[in-house]
């Protein structure tokens, strides 16, 4: 497999509690990887280790390596803001920034000084709103506050905002769990469309979403990776007993 992310001996502690135990895995490039498992098993912790969001929690301790294209993002000489530029995050609850729709999408571009002229900014904003499937609905009111959008639209805005900084990897932390079914469908459709351009890693709490989206599957339980592999293998023929039990809905 062409691995985009490699995790080597990752252990994460919150204070004295160990949240992740000895994680070793690989995330394939330009596929949708789904992390599934019962609540509390460490899925979100693992996801947040990929964009160095764990350090935002006081008392979090990280041991081990997470390599993106061969570079350990936790090395001392790595700039965390660059890591987060390459690894984008779509959160569970959409949080539009307190600005207009246009400014939300342009925010990341300004931060990283990615464009030069006003026209370039405008074109980029339009492009990413189109990619997220939001352009038609907002093109007449780009300068309205972002909070005026519905929650489904807000999540698509967050997608546009995150894609604008041209990441290589998209992380999704249960990105549809706060949305209504139609908006969920929208987002899932977009993520599948973007599959060929980005490596996507999604934490999901429903088995059905995992089956709909996943090319590659990771099953976690109690802070450990129980099984991982291509979706058709894991779903049809799970190697581990616990995986089989989870797939049958036993917990």
């Amino acid at each position: 497999m062409d691995a985009h992310i490699q995790v080597k001996d990752l252990n994460v502690y919150y204070g004295s509690q160990q949240a992740l135990k000895g994680i070793n895995l690989e995330i394939p490039k330009k596929q949708v990887t789904v992390i599934m498992g019962p609540s509390g098993c460490g899925k979100t912790t693992l996801l947040k280790s990929f964009n160095r969001f764990l350090e935002l929690t006081d008392g979090a301790r990280i041991e081990g390596q997470v390599l993106v294209d061969g570079e350990d993002i936790y090395a001392n000489d790595i700039d965390v803001t660059e890591v987060r530029k390459r690894v984008g995050l779509l959160a569970q609850r959409p949080y539009p920034l307190p600005m207009s729709i246009y400014e939300n999408v342009a925010y990341g571009l300004h931060i990283h000084q990615m464009k030069k002229t006003n026209k370039e900014y405008k074109d980029a904003v339009r492009h990413y709103l189109e990619v997220a499937g939001l352009w038609e609905e907002v093109k007449g009111r780009l300068h309205n506050p972002a909070t005026s959008l519905s929650i489904g639209q807000q999540q698509r805005l967050c997608l546009a905002r995150g894609l604008a900084i041209e990441p290589e990897i998209i992380l999704g932390d249960e990105p549809t769990s706060a949305l209504d079914p139609i908006s969920s469908q929208h987002i899932e459709k977009k993520l599948l469309e973007l599959k060929g351009q980005y490596t996507t890693v999604i934490v999901t709490h429903t088995l059905r979403q995992a089956k709909r989206l996943g090319d590659h599957v990771i099953f976690m339980y109690l802070g450990e990776v129980v099984e991982s592999g291509p979706a058709y293998e894991v779903f049809a023929n799970p190697k581990e007993e616990r995986t089989r039990q989870y797939l049958e809905g036993l917990f």
Partner: protein
């Protein structure tokens, strides 16, 4: 810890053995109602007190409002009660100068400190700061005044005043006729330190109330912490921050003793930070003793108290209303 009701179906006071060992439900209910009514009377106290104080001030200052127009008093520059001259302007100007200067000195460091505490500092640093701020807030005003006399006034007198006399004669805010260390600047420095713990705590609360999901959304795009603060947190927190400053101003306006001890108490409209001033609270404090001898003097001083109080209350209530909307569980 809490009593479970015994045999609720039995309202009589005696239990099966004929002994009254615990109050029955009826008795407990009656206690509850009685206490409710008593407590209600207690709760009237703050309301009555507030009304009485306001009414007293208005009634006792009424005579002078009848004798002189408010406008004349606010604009009048001469304070000679024996001659019937009640001009508040020098004192109002003094108050405005000291309070404004104090806030200008206090707000930037307090804002930066509060931001640092809320966004950058670890738990241990925060645990260290809380007692420190509490201690600073607990120091009595008269001790701040003493500190002003021991440390601030001599500092100004020995360093700034000679420097200003020689080089700053033409600088607008710092030239002065005959500066000693007792000046608006000294009052402002003392005031700034006095209101600092308060402003820091309030701004800290406001910033802590910004949902972390919002900050995360910005950080996930690869911003530095400061960029997130500047573009996302600060705009959200701004109304609360302004309310904190206004609240600090209301505290500063009412501070009497500490400022009085270092500010010179000469009634003139100030023109420079190194001039002396005579703020409104000091006017009341210094003269209340001999006010009975001169007609309308007591009424004038009480009107000063009333004006001061009204200003403070407007600031106070205005900012509390804003803060109630911005901070969860703000009292």
């Amino acid at each position: 810890m809490s009593q479970s009701s015994k045999t609720t179906t039995n309202p009589t006071k005696l239990n099966r053995e004929g002994r009254a060992d615990r109050p029955s439900l009826l008795a407990r209910r009656r206690q509850d109602q009685f206490a409710g009514r008593t407590f209600f009377i207690f709760s009237l106290i703050p309301i009555l007190l507030a009304l009485i104080i306001l009414i007293m001030l208005v009634v006792r200052s009424w005579p002078i409002f009848q004798a002189h127009s408010l406008w004349d008093m606010l604009m009048g520059q001469e304070w000679k009660p024996e001659e019937g001259l009640f001009g508040f302007m020098p004192f109002i100007a003094g108050t405005v100068w000291v309070t404004t200067a104090g806030l200008i000195l206090a707000v930037p460091p307090c804002l930066l400190t509060a931001i640092y505490l809320s966004e950058y500092a670890g738990n241990r640093l925060r645990a260290f700061m809380k007692p420190l701020l509490d201690l600073l807030a607990a120091i009595p005003p008269v001790v701040y005044g003493v500190w002003g006399i021991i440390a601030v006034v001599p500092l100004l007198q020995d360093w700034l005043v000679p420097f200003a006399k020689k080089y700053l004669q033409n600088v607008p805010l710092l030239n002065s006729q005959n500066p000693t260390g007792f000046s608006i600047l000294a009052g402002a420095i003392v005031l700034a330190v006095m209101v600092a713990p308060f402003i820091i705590s309030v701004i800290y609360e406001v910033m802590n109330n910004i949902p972390s999901g919002l900050k995360d959304a910005s950080l996930a795009l690869g911003t530095t912490r400061w960029q997130t603060i500047r573009w996302v947190v600060f705009p959200q927190a701004l109304p609360g921050i302004i309310a904190a400053i206004v609240l600090g101003a209301s505290r500063a306006l009412g501070e009497t003793i500490a400022v009085l001890m270092v500010v010179g108490n000469v009634a003139q409209v100030p023109h420079s930070l190194l001039d002396t001033a005579y703020p409104l609270p000091a006017l009341i404090a210094n003269n209340y003793g001999d006010m009975m001898s001169v007609p309308l003097y007591d009424s004038a001083l009480l009107s000063v108290a009333l004006i001061l109080l009204v200003m403070i209350l407007i600031f106070n209530i205005g900012s509390t209303l804003v803060l109630r909307r911005f901070v969860k569980d703000w009292v």
